[in-house]
Symmetry: C2
Subunit: 194 residues, 2 copies
């Protein structure tokens, strides 16, 4: 289903080139979420989008561990406390895991994290397509997650993702509310060299 | 400008969920390119899109080294031979480089490659938005690129990207022409766990 996107954000810090797809420019990572339930069907659609990212040798090294209603609190406890404060209102929490080796020859896949990042971006764009928002978190308890998910040495947890409907900034504690806006970016000249 | 996308591809191997944004499902990585010139303005728009990807602490660790008309042949020579065969017809070649440490504290950025993958996906989607195609390549001469681009120890080259207008498969050598179609993906159950 499509969720109604009823928050307004201030994009004045985003000086995008006029030709850039506005869907890319208006994607951002809120902390204020409004608790709604996502159906199994919604979740299938969301994560299915990540499948279509490209990857080295089409190895698809990305894995997504997704909370259920029953495991949400456990997933929440595996975030650092600073993220728990706001991520508790997300609809779903997810951990991105990569398979570190290629299936066809067992050798190290040096592109696993890069390719998983592409799959994460596909997921983030699909969420916007459905009226939902995502917020990736480096602040996770990686060792505890590895244990909780029983990951073997061939798998590495990279980050967490909160997914849900955005809420007004007023739903946040004051210090987080003050930061609740789309971030700017470096100038193009700082990242492109010819 | 918008380029006319006049190739047809067989997506029958792509069993996407019906709710997935078709732009994600129909993005793929051709090898057959038709040589066209991209203006500086086109290139600004393309790479500007990558700026809007999310990153840990908004560090934006991605860097793009982009060929000019003068440096195209040098860039091409830095791909493995198997990629040179078809990438020679791309409009532009690019190397994705990551900054390995955070600017604000000099510590290792464990998310550099993951975040660069997100920026790459933004670029790939922007290319489609403009009627262009991208093809990322792991097959590059990394040591030679590091030297040619004078990268220091704080930077690592990850992959190459060919960008251009797609051409009919008949433009390729026979063995590549036979493989010129969108690849399938693993089943959702192989990458999502609840």
């Amino acid at each position: 289903m499509t969720f109604e996107d009823n928050i307004s954000a201030d994009f004045s810090a985003r000086d995008a080139d006029a030709g850039v797809d506005p869907r890319l420019v208006t994607r951002w990572s809120p902390r204020a979420f409004k608790k709604v339930s996502l159906s199994d069907s919604d979740l299938v659609t969301l994560f299915d989008a990540a499948r279509w990212a490209p990857s080295c040798q089409n190895a698809q090294p990305w894995r997504f561990y997704v909370s259920t209603e029953d495991s949400f609190d456990q997933y929440l406890s595996l975030l650092v406390e600073g993220n728990q404060v706001w991520a508790k209102n997300a609809s779903v929490l997810c951990f991105v895991v990569v398979k570190k080796t290629f299936e066809h020859n067992g050798k190290a896949n040096g592109f696993a994290e890069f390719d998983a990042g592409a799959a994460w971006m596909a997921l983030a764009m699909q969420a916007r397509h459905m009226g939902l928002y995502t917020h990736a978190m480096g602040g996770i308890k990686a060792a505890e997650i590895t244990q909780a998910l029983a990951l073997d040495d061939d798998h590495k947890v990279v980050c967490g993702i909160a997914i849900g409907m955005a809420a007004d900034a007023s739903a946040l504690p004051a210090e987080l509310a003050a930061r609740e806006k789309p971030t700017p970016r470096k100038a193009l000249a700082d990242i492109v060299f010819r």
